[in-house]
Amino acid sequence: MMEYDDQLRLQAYLDGELPESEARRFGEQLERDPEAAALLEELRRTGECLAGFEEGVKLPETREFYWSKIQREIQRREADAAPAASAEASGLAWLRRWLLPATGVAFVALIGLLAFRGTRAASPGVVEVTQSDSGAFTYHDYSAGATLVWLSFPAEGEIGEPEDLSTLE
């Protein structure tokens, strides 16, 4: 009796699944082995019996009835999918309506903030010197209804060029 592996190899030979060189060698062996040849014939005949089997199988429903069920199911699923698609679309609409303008506003605010900080960074001491170290003071005479303002120039703490200072002296 053939070994099981040889039986499977015989089947692979029949199905064209053996490499060409092995198939040729196997074909030569078959000519000398009647048992293998008989098994090969059985396998081949079984395949031939099955050929065409499905061609005779017919759908046991009319075209109209079969299609009506398919069509109904397609429509039902599309209807089920519609609210989900609608929710998704409304989400996108919300995004377009609110999020995009909000993003624009945030962007403008950010630009403004950066510009302001940039200005401060460019002249860090001017404002402070002007306000706290200007050397200006006022005298208000209520009886005369007059206000005098003294300004020292250059202001104390202000860095001036040496020649300017000498000129003032």
């Binding site: 009796m1 099981y4 089947q11 079984t46 099955l50 079969y66």
Partner: protein, 185 residues
């Protein structure tokens, strides 16, 4: 096809009419149950409609649809499999197989039969195979897949495909011969 892909349902209905027998037949070969085969073939058409944009024409439309119904049947058969215990047949296969011991059927068991009668016999014989054996046989004989393609579809090794196919063929030969003997009595 183009019209159906553009959403023309009447065009799709024409495709269904043209291929419905083939798709149903494949489902029936695998499921061996008329009602399930109708349900699964219908489901295949619904999925076909939903995925129609993905069809690029690498294979024929009929082949593309057949693959959809095969996958649906395999999913369904796996569900059935989980719901039942292993059959004796499957245990035989796992333990080395009884098919190697079967005597070779030397006469043509279907010789002289009418086409309708032959179909009935094959139908009954297919019904006596386990779903694993039947599926391998259907994928090889009807779908004409190679061993490696069957292994991929069924999630098993090529060696398992070979042994299942061998068992299925030998069992079919024996069953068809028995059926002929029974009818001859």
């Amino acid at each position: 096809m183009r019209a159906a892909q553009r959403g023309d349902m009447a065009a799709f209905e024409e495709l269904v009419a043209r291929h419905r027998d083939k798709i149903y037949a494949r489902a029936y070969s695998m499921m061996r149950n008329e009602e399930e085969a109708i349900d699964l073939s219908q489901e295949a058409w619904v999925k076909g409609w939903q995925r129609l944009q993905q069809f690029q024409g690498e294979s024929s439309f009929g082949t593309w649809m057949t693959r959809i119904v095969i996958n649906l049947c395999l999913d369904q058969l796996r569900k059935h499999k989980r719901q039942r215990t292993e059959s004796i047949e499957e245990m035989d296969e796992e333990s080395g197989g009884v098919e190697r011991q079967m005597p070779v059927v030397t006469v043509n068991p279907t010789a002289g039969l009418e086409r309708g009668e032959l179909r009935q016999r094959i139908d009954r014989a297919l019904g006596q195979l386990s779903y694993e054996h039947r599926t391998v046989l259907v994928l090889h004989e009807f779908e004409e897949l190679e061993y490696k393609e069957i292994a991929k579809v069924m999630g098993c090794s090529i060696g398992t495909v070979m042994s299942r196919l061998f068992y299925a063929r030998r069992k079919m030969a024996a069953l068809l011969a028995d059926l002929k003997n029974e009818s001859g009595k």
